[in-house]
Symmetry: C2
Subunit: 191 residues, 2 copies
DNA sequence: GACTCATTAGGACAGTTGTCCTATTTCTGA
DNA sequence: TCAGAAATAGGACAACTGTCCTAATGAGTC
């Protein structure tokens, strides 16, 4: 197997384990066991655990980036696109209820650890923040767009947090609906 | 020193360290160093780390419980009381920006660890949830009170999450103001 | 087939973890 | 004052952590 394949496999598995069990709670041994390579072999691909984390964050940034681009192709207007974002809460409901939001929980964990890559994790937030801002701007919200973006981001995070705590689908649905309504009121329809 | 005093000291220090550095990232040694007792002496007061966690959660439940009671004494009507809740985001702004919400981050960490006391941590949410529900009921929101309570809890969590990520006081202030406004619209004033 | 270089396996290493035991000290009550 | 209990100190213990080294294996080229 090529080194790139193995590396990708490591990052993929680490991505999942960091999400499901947390960064600190995931050990080299855990990852190695699932990738089915020896523990020592890690050193060939990644010198430190932080390097894996950096690769995982990069991977998530890339994943979410293409997801956002896809929404721009799939959805005709800004409101529909923002709706796509809000509805991840429902699309990924099962995982969010079990593990919370992948962006929020990582950012919060790294902040507590005072981890040097804490700022990198926040870039995941910023990716969505900037994209949402663009959509609100395109929807005619003008200089308020940035604040609207943060607002929706914030409410999504809150919904994900409580979804994880209470695992109540009805609550998630309500919050999603209200957020969509909130956006609909503020966006001029173009289609 | 009496055993109760030492025990309280341990729980107090553990409470702070669990909040600032996370439960898993805090070791017996860390706590012992700050309480200035020997590591081995822990075993006399707590058999396991989980027992400390249980005591910390109990302490937080009690702390927050008396805080809620105090608000009922200080604030004249339900709107003013709910406003007290919302404004913790500003009162504890510095700590929330540095470490997030003590309730949310603990609940989320324990969920990821699949920790047996995960449910106990959620009780902290429920404490606020039930209290908020009572306030909305007292404010005349009727059967919607429970949903309103969850909604405000959710938005507070989102605001705390992004406050931690971006450390932007203006954002926090905006969210607080909007939440207060949202509540004011739905509560009948009694004073 | 022999040589080279990329990839892997296996284990060494020191440090830390939670847990637990046993002496020693400190305090208390008769 | 002194016995007994309460509280503490110090360290043992195996398990695990991230890091790092070295030897073996693999594939592809001359």
């Amino acid at each position: 197997m090529s080194a790139a394949d193995t590396r990708n496999m490591i990052v993929e598995v680490a991505d999942r384990l960091f999400y499901e069990n947390g960064y600190e709670h995931t050990s080299f041994a855990d990852i190695a066991a699932r990738v089915k390579i020896s523990r020592g072999n890690f050193y060939y691909h990644f010198k430190t655990k932080d390097e894996i984390l950096a690769a995982v964050i990069e991977r998530r940034l890339s994943d979410r980036g293409t997801m956002l681009l896809q929404w721009e192709l799939d959805a005709p207007d800004p409101l529909a696109r923002i709706t796509c974002f809000i509805k991840i809460l429902i699309t990924n409901q099962t995982k969010i209820m079990a593990y919370g939001c992948p962006v929020g929980t990582l950012s919060s964990e790294l902040a507590k650890l005072n981890h040097p890559l804490s700022g990198e994790a926040v870039k995941l937030f910023t990716l969505f923040r900037d994209w949402l801002t663009q959509q609100f701007e395109a929807g005619g919200c003008g200089p308020q767009s940035g604040e609207f973006a943060l607002h929706i981001l914030s409410r999504s995070q809150g919904a994900a947090m409580l979804a994880n705590a209470y695992r109540d689908p009805a609550f998630v649905q309500r919050e999603v609906d209200e957020m969509c309504e909130w956006c609909a009121k503020r966006l001029t329809r173009t289609s």
